[in-house]
């Protein structure tokens, strides 16, 4: 078995040597540990005992353009001592790496960010430091952060993607190393804009928050009704001013890694902070600058009282199909979207009730009146035809 591994290793080395001259030299330069030797093969991977596929392929040219492009593999995968190596542990994002943080002169680490995050509603530990219930449901770093490719912009007014050569040339006036200047430019302009579009942001958050079972485990209601709000209509049309989850849950002055439960005074959606959040006077988006306390109250993702005009039939049929197949219980969705009764104030409850009643009143009115009209006109059609046949008219 061992000799076989050696032969395989030799073969890999030989193939690598043969391919080496074809590889761009500047890409090879960063990979001083030579991990690329194996990991550049796109088929590299395995299927583990549980049948899960693992892909170990690293596209070096893409990795170079990513936010971690300057970090060597061993900085994060620090326990690897030799190769071919065996199973590696999951990367701990709090690892201190050898990059120097220019602001402090010390080695860089994400530990401070993780400390803050652990205190938020998404953190795995409670105030006493004990592991929360169902901690495995909570999003760890890599749930939201894949190692992104830099998305530089060419300016502030027109945020076209790319590197503005004019600006880069200004850097290169003093800094001779172009690769360094380019990375710094990327790093800086990547941060100038929200790199996820509002749509992607909503998709990311609802990937957990629309999961009925998962939300039920944490005593939360699903946020599916966000898609009924006018906020979502704006996002659907790509309006840059339309708010996504972060716009309200972590506006200016708050931090997306420190989202707090809504009853916490530090939360942007706490009752006392809502006016400021809706007004969003410091933000880049224009929201509701003259918001009043009475405007900024009530549920923004309310229980499902809106009907889809064009999607109604499709949604209904889909639901019916699922119910007949036994994949879903009747009214399951509606129930999941209703906040628990004890969570509602009497005012919220009666307001919801009024809205529901108006919805059903209108549905009956529309159904009844339009059916009456259709019937009336059909009768009129046949009467008119009779009349014309008899020659009484025209």
């Amino acid at each position: 078995m061992k000799s076989r591994t050696n032969i395989m290793g030799l073969a890999i080395i030989l193939v690598t040597l043969a391919v080496c001259p074809l590889t761009a030299p500047h890409l090879m330069a960063a990979d001083v540990e030579n991990c690329d030797l194996c990991h550049k093969y796109s088929g590299l991977g395995r299927i583990d005992e549980s049948g899960k596929k693992h892909l170990f392929y690293v596209n070096d040219s893409l990795f170079q353009q990513s936010v971690h492009g300057k970090v060597r593999c061993k900085e994060c995968h620090s326990e690897i001592e030799k190769y071919p190596h065996t199973n590696t542990k999951k990367v701990d994002c709090a690892t201190v790496c050898h990059l120097i943080d220019p602001s402090t002169g010390e080695n860089f680490s994400h530990a401070t960010m993780i400390e803050k995050y652990e205190l938020s509603v998404h953190g795995t530990k409670d105030a006493e430091g004990n592991l929360k219930e169902h901690a495995e449901d909570l999003a760890a770093c890599i749930y939201c952060h894949e190692n992104r490719i830099y998305q530089p912009v060419t300016g502030l007014a027109q945020k076209d993607q790319g590197v503005a050569q004019e600006i880069l040339d200004r850097c290169l006036g003093c800094h001779n190393e172009e690769q360094w200047a380019r990375t710094f430019y990327n790093h800086f302009t990547h941060r100038l804009h929200q790199r996820r579009t509002s749509r992607r942001m909503v998709e990311l958050c609802v990937s957990c928050h629309e999961d009925t079972e998962r939300m039920a485990r944490h005593g939360l209601t699903v946020t599916g009704t966000f898609h009924d709000t006018f906020h979502w209509q704006g996002i659907k049309y790509g309006d840059p001013n339309a708010p996504n989850c972060i716009t309200c849950h972590a506006p200016v002055g708050y931090f997306s890694h420190q989202i707090m439960p809504k009853n916490d005074a530090r939360s942007a959606i706490h009752r006392d902070n809502l006016v400021r959040t809706c007004a969003n006077l410091d933000g880049l988006q224009t929201c509701h600058p003259s918001a009043t306390p009475s405007f900024a109250q009530g549920k923004i993702h309310p229980a499902d009282f809106k009907i889809g005009v064009f999607e109604f039939k499709m949604k209904g049929l889909d639901r019916l199909r699922k119910i007949t197949r036994g994949e879903m219980k009747p009214f399951q969705e509606v129930r999941a979207q209703q906040p628990a009764p004890e969570e509602l104030t009497p005012l919220d409850y009666y307001q919801g009730l009024i809205l529901q009643l108006i919805k059903y009143f209108y549905l009956m009115l529309i159904g009844g009146l339009i059916s009456f009209m259709i019937l009336h006109q059909v009768l009129d059609y046949f009467a008119t035809r009779r009349e014309m046949k008899e020659g009484g008219m025209h």
Partner: protein, 247 residues
């Protein structure tokens, strides 16, 4: 009601090219026609720009890459034509209150007991159980449409106002408004499509459309057929065509 004479040509007969004189009546005067043009044009644009908010996502790719621009213009046009619609309501209200013709229009439009009787008699007629009722200037169908139009217009204007200036009102008013605004829009659009489009476009004898909304004219035999009571009154009051000078 004024009587006028127009020249018509009868196609396919021996004297096809000699104009014939036919009597007609003005059913919609110039004010009513302008009001109708304003209301239908703004209604169509408001319905389209309004229901665009409800479009499923798959439809939106047809707007690419102009989605954002489309969304901006959608909102702007909706507001502009909402104002046109509201101004038109005011115009109609002033017309009804302050002009002689308008007051007459309003009085003939008021619902009365006869309309209920007409409805049942008409139902019987449809089912071949009775005679066709004799309608006056406006029949119960027209009155129903007119007054539901007024009610719907007021509801949708008020809720639209709350939506436009949402920040100054409680969130509950906003929730209520967005629900009622949508529902009322669905109701109004479908009612127009079923009730009005049939009556003036699809009805046998009317297809492709009745011309009253364009020139305001209704021919004598049409008036006699559709509004016999009014025809009798008008006939008794007005001079005949032979008595008015050539136009």
């Amino acid at each position: 009601m004024t009587i006028r004479v127009r020249e018509t040509w009868t196609i396919g007969e021996a004297d096809a090219y000699t104009p014939k004189k036919e009597e007609y009546y003005i059913r919609m005067n110039i004010h009513e026609r302008i009001q109708h043009h304003l209301v239908w044009s703004s209604f169509v644009i408001l319905a389209i720009t309004g229901f665009m908010v409800e479009f499923p996502e798959e439809w939106l790719r047809y707007f690419d890459p102009y989605r954002e621009t489309v969304f901006y213009w959608r909102g702007l046009l909706h507001r502009i034509f909402a104002v046109v619609m509201i101004i038109n309501i005011g115009y109609q209200a002033l017309y009804l209150a302050f002009s002689k013709e308008g007051r007459g229009y309003f009085l003939s439009m008021l619902p009365e007991l006869k309309d209920a009787k007409d409805f049942f008699q008409n139902m019987a007629y449809y089912l071949q159980r009775g005679e066709k009722p004799l309608f006056d200037r406006f029949n119960y169908k027209e009155k129903l449409e007119y007054w539901t139009g007024w009610i719907g217009n007021i509801i949708i204007t008020v809720t639209g106002f709350f939506l436009w200036f949402q920040e100054f009102f409680p969130k509950f008013i906003f929730d209520l408004s967005i629900l009622i605004h949508t529902m009322e829009a669905i109701l109004a659009s479908s009612a127009i499509m079923v009730w009005h489009f049939y009556e003036v476009h699809l009805k046998p004898g009317k297809f492709p459309m009745s011309n009253v909304w364009l020139d305001g004219k209704i021919s004598e035999h049409e008036l006699e057929e559709e509004h016999p009571l009014q025809y009798e009154k008008v006939k008794a009051q007005t001079i005949t065509s032979s008595q008015i000078p050539d136009l």
